[in-house]
Subunit: 162 residues, 2 copies
DNA sequence: GGGTAATGGTTGTATTTGTAACCAACAAGA
DNA sequence: TCTTGTTGGTTACAAATACAACCATTACCC
């Protein structure tokens, strides 16, 4: 019986906290719009940060391009997103939220904000600040897109995620 | 363009941090032992907290019983775990680590500890303490097994996870 | 004791995800 | 201009996951 405790092991703790806190919110976008996690992430990126290509979303959200490709196809089928081919570079397609997509986004933002408020209701302002800061560092945010705190144990691909 | 920022939204942040921090470690148990995340979780529960049944692991780790059933079958095939039927209640099977299973566990504990140390290397002791505390509360640890901080947005099953 | 529900666990099937391969368009150098 | 490499994106197939149904055993209780 080792001393090592799962309940303080960061990857485990983070996964449990992530799953637990995602549950309530994922039910909403699933029940209301039949979306998957990949789909709301794409929706949120377009809604919050403006039109962009699939590749750009991939870089920001660290999602593999196949995930994005499928998420975009699903959002397109739901009429939430439209594509526009870039005439200067015909490989690229700029993605835009439709009016309907924006309504869904606006609706979900309200839910997300309320959910987040509830999640942090039992944390002090100081705790919350430290928590967010640590998580952003662990997630590799802030230092451009590249990885920050967590070098590989024995190296892994730098450009394609998962 | 809403004010809402994904990079401070807890479920998103937690998922990103969880994924990022899990990457290096998952490579090790995958490469060295061909294990899945469900498998190392079962292995760690048995190694750290002693023999127990699949149902008990499910309660502790908040894993669905089908995941555990398959993880146990895989660990058994690898000769890392053995089962012993409870004579008092013939539905139950107590799971135990084999000598080989314990060696794998001991090996992975060392890796996990080193990985965790590296992850928190850039955090102050105070930051780390707050981080762990917040995550445990968000994950619903500490208050028995039941949920703590994150009530459902509109209610969800209490006993089966996911 | 007999019926009904609850518990421990497994299996089957539909979804989702991961991984690799692929195609088309562009870039850069010989 | 050829050719080699890179980038943006899709598709095909394998692996993993969720979900429901299932079986066996035990618990409850009339």
């Amino acid at each position: 019986m080792s001393e090592f405790d799962l309940r303080t092991f960061l990857p485990y703790l983070l996964n449990q906290a992530a799953e637990e806190t995602s549950l309530g919110f994922s039910r909403v976008y699933k029940d209301r719009y039949g979306m998957l996690r990949t789909e709301w992430r794409v929706l949120f990126h377009l809604g919050r940060y403006g039109d962009m290509t699939a590749a750009e979303i991939g870089r920001r959200a660290k999602m593999h391009k196949t995930k994005i490709s499928r998420a975009v196809a699903a959002l397109e089928a739901k009429r939430f997103v439209t594509r526009r081919e870039d005439s200067a570079d015909r490989r690229r397609e700029t993605l835009t939220l439709s009016a309907q997509g924006r309504r869904a986004f606006d609706d979900l933002v309200v839910v997300a904000e309320a959910h987040d408020t509830r999640l942090t209701a039992n944390l002090s302002a100081g705790e919350r600040a430290v928590l967010i800061d640590c998580l952003q560092r662990l997630a590799g945010f802030g230092n451009g897109v590249e990885r920050a705190l967590s070098p590989a144990i024995d190296g892994y691909k730098q450009d394609e995620y998962q």
